[in-house]
Amino acid sequence: MTPDRSLIEQLNGTWRDPPGVWGFLTTVDHKRIAARYIVTAILLMFLAGMLALDMRWQLSVPENTRMTPQLFNESFSLHGSTMLFLVSVPLMEAMAFWLVPLMLGARNMAFPRLGAFSFWLYFGGVLTLWIAHAIDVTPDLGWFEYPPLSGPAYSPGHRADIWAQMITFTEVAALAASVNVAATILKMRPPGMTLARMPVFLWAMLIASIMTIFSMPAIMLVTSMLISDRLVSTHFFSVAAGGDAVLFQHLFWFFGHPEVYLIFIPGTGFVSSIVETFSRRQLFGHSVLVLAILSIGALAFGLWVHHMFAVGLPRLGNDFYTAASMAIAVPAGLQIFCWLASIWAGRTWFPTPMLWVLGFLATFVIGGLSGLMTASAALDLQLTDTYFIVAHLHYVLVGGAMFPLFGAFCYWYPKATGRLMSELWGKVAFGLIVGGFNLGFFPMHILGLMGMPRRVYTYSPGMGWETLNQVATAGSAIAVLGGLVFVANALWSYWRGEPSGADPWGGSTLEWASASPPPAWNLAFTPVVASLTPMWNGGGALSVMDGISVGKREVLVTSVTGAGPLYRQKSAAPSVWPLLAALAVSAMFLGSIFTPWAIPIGTLPIAAALIGWFWPNRPRAKIGPLKAMP
């Protein structure tokens, strides 16, 4: 059977957003929230790419005068901070917001208003950094702003404060998003989707969310301590008063290293989904993949000191972290072999999403191998702060996370828009980006080995670095051109692309059961899952259950391990309060750059917004004997 018209109309009425601007401001639809995350992050990726191109222009010839040292410092700080805090992590959260409920056959996230709040607060962080840049208060100390350089003695003004508060914005948003994603995956799986039947994508998003929950408090704490040193004269990092500058590095990297993996792990989820669909077989080694992601998630918390080998820590400590850093190659390698085996053993075809998987495999393996080299403390002492590290980090982050993301974008684009992207232009963009990227970044390994330090705004002629720098600049320009082709293809296809239908790839998981684009309520019924690949049931009808309300917003809550149905939970309606709460929180964060009084005073509007958010919509208690509702 198919859902009849009256059912669909009823669902539309129940889940429809208010029209116009008010609907835009109040929506709690996970797909709309995710889409605005994605559009914002893509715009920022473009801006960060322009900064990168500008820096490459500056370095293309020795003693170039395109940039001053200050502008170069600002450019790499803004590029790194934008890409790490405002693009990579938020994009992964956005993909989770968009896909998790669809893949669960659920109607929305566990906490819809919290999802809206996450986006508005993230957007506050975006505006904080980039409006500050527009008025020339750009952070200029790199993406990690170590004290004492970022302390009050060496960084007067507010550049460092802007950086630190931008982090507070984005991390509160990310923490709220992670609780939301984890609760949704743990408690809203459809009947039958036990933990053992959970697709790798959902495992990846669950583990990345849990990692966020454990790692991001470290950066919140350390940037708060930095602000407090700058604002109220605490001494956490001032050595003269018993503080310790290395403490900042420990806390930063206790977050910073897991951050790399919580960007990479969702990428493994994308790759797993794409490989399974296009190899037309269930993933080879599903359990191995899940256990590998789990071990990467755990090991990621034991590696942070490998970013600090040059600090002068005890040798035994360095040895331990060398071993731990190398150990992570084992689960990462197991994953790669599982994907390769699936591709090898399946009836594989190679449309654009699969090309991105191949690009990911090749590039990430190179990045992983250079990671094994830098994991060795002895070698790292030679390589640290050279262009070798710039090459390595871009190979793992762009190759390991961005390429899978681009593949994911092409793979799920038809689901989001109802149209296919052009395969031809998709392949052109793939070729330009992957080719340009490798041309741009591979020479940096050699430049690093030749001794070229990172974060220098220029270099003298006669160092022998000119040719490779020019190759790197040409490669970056080609990659940026590829990026423009990719975006143009997405925009053109949005209006002119071929209609895709609900399931153009013959996907294995439940998001392909809904219409393309999915309606506000996702699926008319609650699916019942009997395998890891519920859509591959021989083309037969999908088993579903009815009974979740169609007349009011309601979702199904199930048990954590067995996904047994427990109860029907009311799901929040559109509301302006998440936006107002985010505005109140933003006002406090921004005010606290200038005065500590912003914190107690700013608490009052936040409390008012939260009271409005949770204001009861149940009836008033009657006068007389107090009774509970039946």
Binding site: A183, H235, D503, V544, D546, V557, A621, A628
Partner: protein, 205 residues
């Protein structure tokens, strides 16, 4: 608006209840998520204290006065005793005892407010200002961090309590009271290591 496949209805969820309690409830997991975030924050702040302590030969630094024990003891005993009414409220919530959760939540609001009095004196008797040295900074950090949690839960309790009196109370509200009680227990448990670090670690060395 239809998807890729036909559907076959194999059962109904219409008979399920519309609420649950404890770990069966969705919001219980959200509450746990935020406790884990904040608990990690406490653990890291404690690690900062221990790290700074190990970087110096004398702790607290010479000339710093040790934090006073009287008001912190009053606060700690009061906080521990508050668990008795807190657990009673929790049981009332599980038993769906309406009058119990109303007056119990009201009482917890009063108790949290009263506890802020010795907490205020604790700040006055820390013996060192936050801007004197790193030792002062970190004990203020720990105490402020915990105080923020007491104040937050107090605010939450007062608002929840007010709505329990003014609006009808259903299963979801009993679940809210349960979550609020669990959060207070979290605030109490977090205090014990923080108390040991602020008041006893400097004396033990």
């Amino acid at each position: 608006m239809t998807g890729a496949r036909d559907f076959e209805i194999v059962g109904t969820l219409a008979n399920l209840p519309t609420s649950a309690t404890g770990p069966r409830h969705l919001v219980w997991w959200g509450n746990i998520g935020f406790m884990v975030i904040e608990g990690t924050g406490f653990a890291l702040a404690a690690a900062v204290y221990l790290y700074l302590m190990t970087q110096t030969h004398v702790w607290p630094p010479k000339g710093d006065v040790l934090p006073g024990l009287l008001w912190s003891a009053i606060f700690t005993v009061g906080l521990l005793l508050s668990e008795i009414p807190n657990i009673w409220v929790l049981r009332c919530a599980r038993a769906k005892n309406l009058a119990g959760v109303r007056w119990g939540t009201f009482a917890m609001g009063v108790i949290a407010l009263l506890l802020l009095v010795p907490r205020g004196f604790e700040f006055a008797h820390l013996g060192v200002s936050w801007h004197q040295d790193a030792y002062g900074s970190v004990i203020w950090l720990l105490l402020v961090l915990h105080t923020v949690h007491v104040v937050t839960d107090w605010g939450d309790t007062v608002v929840l309590g007010a709505w329990l009196f003014t609006h009808e109370v259903g299963d979801d509200q009993f679940a809210d009271v349960e979550d609020n009680s669990n959060y207070w227990t979290f605030v109490v448990l977090c205090w014990l290591p923080v108390y040991a670090l602020i008041y006893w670690a400097p004396r033990a060395l």
